[in-house]
């Protein structure tokens, strides 16, 4: 099995895996970062969203062989103390119900705010439409993104 050197949350990690292994499973099975969630496996639900070079990306459909030299940030590395503005806003609005999709939602929201510090409702819909919340916390997510944009 080939070895890949990945930069995950600012740390270099050496991983031995099949070349077609999606980043999601490298994170969950190989380096024990389970905050990134498995939802559908076909990039349709957004539960597995991470940042690749600052862009929100579905890790379930991204082979490990494409990732050398890229900056990978997961929910665990979004902030050192769990106090990224988006995380703070999520707590303030008490967004989660079951909580399972929220890491992916937060990663999509954080990437949106990196590129657009004052998004409109339409901007938020466009950036977040790939993230399903089965519990229906969409209204709070939108409110939290607006709050985070002001933090």
């Amino acid at each position: 099995m080939p070895t890949y050197n990945l930069k995950i949350n600012g740390k270099l990690q050496s991983v031995e895996a099949d070349s077609d292994t999606p980043l999601l499973w490298v994170l969950r099975d190989h380096v024990d970062l389970v905050g990134t969630k498995f939802g559908c496996g076909i990039a349709q639900c957004g539960a597995c969203t991470v940042h690749i070079n600052g862009n929100a990306t579905r890790s379930c459909s991204l082979p490990v062989s494409n990732l050398q030299g890229m900056e990978i940030i997961t929910i665990e590395g979004l902030s050192e103390h769990g106090d990224h503005p988006v995380q703070q806003a999520w707590l303030e609005h008490d967004v989660p119900q079951c909580g399972y999709c929220q890491a992916g939602q937060i990663m999509s929201a954080a990437a949106l705010l990196n590129n657009n510090s004052n998004p409109t409702d339409e901007d938020i819909d466009a950036a977040m439409n790939g993230n399903i919340c089965r519990c229906g916390t969409y209204i709070r997510i939108k409110q939290a993104i607006k709050t985070a944009s002001k933090l």
């Binding site: 895996a17 099949d18 077609d20 292994t21 999606p22 499973w25 969950r28 099975d29 024990d32 970062l33 389970v34 905050g35 990134t36 969630k37 498995f38 939802g39 559908c40 496996g41 076909i42 349709q44 639900c45 539960a47 997961t74 929910i75 665990e76 979004l78 103390h81 769990g82 106090d83 995380q87 999520w90 707590l91 008490d94 967004v95 989660p96 119900q97 079951c98 909580g99 399972y100 999709c101 929220q102 890491a103 937060i106 409702d121 938020i124 819909d125 466009a126 977040m128 439409n129 993230n131 399903i132 919340c133 089965r134 519990c135 229906g136 916390t137 969409y138 209204i139 709070r140 939108k142």
Partner: protein, 733 residues
């Protein structure tokens, strides 16, 4: 204060203390701080903990652990149940940490998440647990100081002498309370004295959720643990014969591959499942297992008819002629009244099968040895799982433990225990701990769906536009969606209701607000049309009917309280300014009673470029005392989105016994851009003990949606998903 008899004795407390103290087997950090704000100062981590009773553990620093007995599926009981204990114990919430209790049928009651029953069934037990702890701490302090309990006050974790200066904290006296006899009678607070219940308390797991800490079953790991996946037949009506076992075993990363059979001789309702003979593959990399799963070449045999969606519709219709009427009600003479009526109306409503689609796919950890079985994972029914594993392994229940992880959604899906049973079967076969993981496709194609329904409604009005005849007959695969004793039973002289069952080999189960989700949509749309036929305002028309049920009810067995029903309609009417016309807003209303609670909703719709879009939903809810208002609002908002999303977009269809929608590329769930812009929730204030909340917010949303769509488009909606029926192109994600 109210004096109540405790139902506890020393023996039951000791039993749970032992289990709770030594039973925390989950490998996650157990300390869940209730205040996630790091700026809030907390008491220090104790050096020593003292078990006060099975719900409460107090540390020498005054930190209090409260065990949450029921499974957490997102309904927020892990916060609200401990709040009730903390209220009666009278401690400062910032000094409380919450721990998930393990399954312990010897002590806790009703450890399940279903029927919106968690708070409703445990309200008294939780209050007594807190009050018992408080009383024991008071007795210990009284003994310490040589005075009577009546000379003491306790509040916010501090005990004070009424006529003196002495005071001590719960932490300081906790060690002495351990030996105190459990009181046979305790005093409960007056509802007016509640300080914590009725305030907005944040989710105790929120910080872990937003930072991605391990919480869910899928996140669980144990040293030496293997991973496993299963493969079931591709169609209902098929059974596994054999597969290319040797080839699969030789694939990279595969340690073993074999067939398991989880058929139980004496199954219960929670053992429902499409397929019991399955291929199991074991290894230590999820991705390699997924690849091996794709390489399976199996032989399947056809054992019953391979059904399709057209056949399902025919069978639902056919059931009205030849189906089995399971429940019915007749008041007066419907047929005669309908024939004599001045105006009549008949409508038919239908809905397809639906999948639950919890975001966390099914999974479970099992470690089975010759004499013991340990199960850890997401289950709404840990006791049922324990029972089924006991049957499968022929092992006494005492040798089986079940621990519950936080669940990535339930919606009824995890009332069914097969994935835990399968994990146990695989662990037994390989003689090692294992975590079974389903793919999305495994979950969406294996059954236990929301049934498919078809209901026919008829109504007749007299010369004065009074409702004089009403009937509902509903068939379902496999169970009709009719509640004979619910509204409008009790409001009409001539009433007929029939619940009709029909056959299918597709397996089904409870899906959030079973049957109510469909019935509320159909019935409340129909009532809207009847009101229109009568030339009456839809809210006034309903209120007239409730007046009838209040003043002169028909029959004696009406499930609902018409005054509370009317109460939520009046509240939503007031809050939404119903009757104020805005030419750009199209409104629909609905009200429904289920899970002992009452909810009325108004949907405000606008047309954006000719396409309907929901601007706002107004909700009025009567669920008795509300424990945690902001979290309760979150739950109702979620219910509304769940109801609207599925009625609008979702369906599961069949071809030759196979499901066509196998993942989220074809199965549509509501997305951000389709959600209502705002959902405002109002609660009726009363002193009624809490009733259900996880489910009741959903059903009326379907009716209010259909009625608003009618106002916006001029078209009535009878067949779900509505998006398929809309001529204008809907704003799809």
């Amino acid at each position: 204060m109210t004096k109540v008899k405790t139902q506890y004795n020393r023996r039951s407390f000791i039993k749970v203390s032992a289990a709770a103290g030594g039973g925390m087997l989950i490998g996650f950090s157990w300390l869940t701080g209730c205040i996630s704000d790091p700026k809030v100062e907390k008491v220090e981590i104790p050096n020593e903990w003292f078990e006060i009773n099975g719900y409460i553990k107090i540390g020498d620093t005054g930190l209090v652990t409260i065990y949450s007995p029921n499974p957490e599926i997102g309904q927020n009981v892990k916060t609200s149940m401990p709040m009730i204990v903390a209220e009666e114990l009278d401690v400062d919430w910032k000094n409380v940490v919450v721990e998930q209790a393990p399954l312990n049928t010897g002590f806790y009651q009703n450890q399940f998440a279903g029927g919106s029953l968690s708070i409703r069934l445990s309200w008294n037990a939780l209050r007594m647990a807190g009050a018992t702890g408080r009383r024991m701490l008071l007795e210990a302090a009284a003994k310490e100081w040589g005075i009577a309990v009546s000379d003491l006050n306790a509040a916010q974790g501090v005990i004070k002498e009424k006529n003196g200066d002495r005071s001590l904290t719960y932490g300081e006296i906790a060690s002495k309370a351990v030996g105190i006899e459990i009181p046979e009678e305790v005093e409960l607070k007056s509802i007016n004295d509640f300080k914590l219940i009725g305030t907005d308390v944040k989710n105790v797991d929120a910080k872990k959720i937003v930072t991605g800490e391990p919480l869910f079953g899928l996140d669980f790991k144990r040293e030496g643990m293997q991973l496993a996946m299963i493969q079931h037949p591709p169609a209902f009506g098929m059974k596994l014969k054999d597969f290319n076992e040797e080839e699969i075993k030789r694939m990279p990363g595969v340690k073993d591959a074999f067939i398991i059979d989880t058929t139980l001789e004496d199954p219960t309702w929670s053992d429902e499942k499409g397929f019991f003979q399955l291929i199991a593959i074991v290894g230590d990399s999820t991705w390699q297992l997924m690849k091996a799963k794709r390489a399976i070449k199996a032989n399947w045999e056809v054992i019953s008819e391979l059904e399709n969606s057209e056949m399902h519709l025919t069978n639902l219709e056919e059931a009205f002629v030849s189906g089995d009427v399971e429940e019915s009600r007749k008041d007066g003479d419907f047929d005669t009244a309908f024939k004599k009526a001045t105006k009549v109306i008949e409508r038919t409503y239908s809905s397809p099968f639906l999948a639950h689609n919890t975001m966390e796919p099914m999974n479970f950890f099992a470690n089975v040895t010759d004499t013991t079985a340990e199960l850890i994972g997401p289950t709404q029914t840990p006791e049922a799982l324990e029972g089924s594993v006991s049957k499968l392994l022929n092992m006494p229940i005492e040798n089986i433990t079940v621990n519950m992880t936080r669940m990535g959604g339930g919606f009824g899906r995890r009332l069914y225990v097969h994935f835990g049973v399968e994990a146990a079967a695989i662990s037994k076969k390989i003689g090692a701990p294992v975590k079974l993981v389903y793919t999305r496709e495994d979950d969406m194609t294996q059954g236990t769906y929301r049934p498919a329904y078809l209901s026919k409604y008829k109504a007749g009005l007299d010369d004065n536009n009074n409702l004089v005849a009403f009937s509902v007959q509903g068939s379902g695969l496999p169970e009709g969606s009719v509640f004979p004793d619910r509204f409008p039973a009790g409001t009409v002289d001539n009433y007929l209701a029939e619940k009709i069952n029909a056959k299918t080999n597709v397996t089904t189960g409870a899906w959030r607000a079973p049957r109510s989700h469909f019935t509320a949509g159909a019935e409340q749309s129909f009532i809207d049309e009847v009101a229109e036929l009568a030339g009456k305002d839809p809210i006034d028309f309903r209120l007239e009917l409730f007046d009838r049920a209040i003043n002169n009810p028909i029959g004696e067995k009406n499930d609902y309280d018409p005054e509370r029903y009317a109460g939520v309609l009046k509240l939503v009417k007031e809050k939404s300014n119903w009757g104020e016309t805005n030419p750009e807003i199209y409104r629909g209303v609905a009200a429904y009673f289920c899970h002992s609670s009452y909810v009325a909703e108004v949907v405000d719709m606008v047309l954006v470029n000719g396409q309907p879009k929901i601007k706002k939903v107004w909700c009025a809810v009567d669920c008795g005392i509300v424990i945690n208002p902001d979290a309760a609002k979150n739950m109702v908002q979620g219910g509304v989105i769940d109801g609207i999303g599925h009625a609008m977009y979702s369906q599961l269809t069949f071809n030759n016994g196979s499901v066509n929608e196998t993942n989220f590329d074809r199965y549509q769930l509501m997305r951000h851009s389709q959600a209502p812009e705002d959902i405002e929730v109002f609660f009726i204030k009363n002193d009624i003990a809490p009733t259900g909340l996880g489910e009741p917010g959903l059903p009326p949303a379907v009716g209010a949606l259909a009625n608003a769509l009618y106002q916006a488009t001029g078209q009535r909606f009878y067949t779900q998903p509505f998006a398929n029926q809309i001529n204008a192109k809907m704003p799809l994600g």
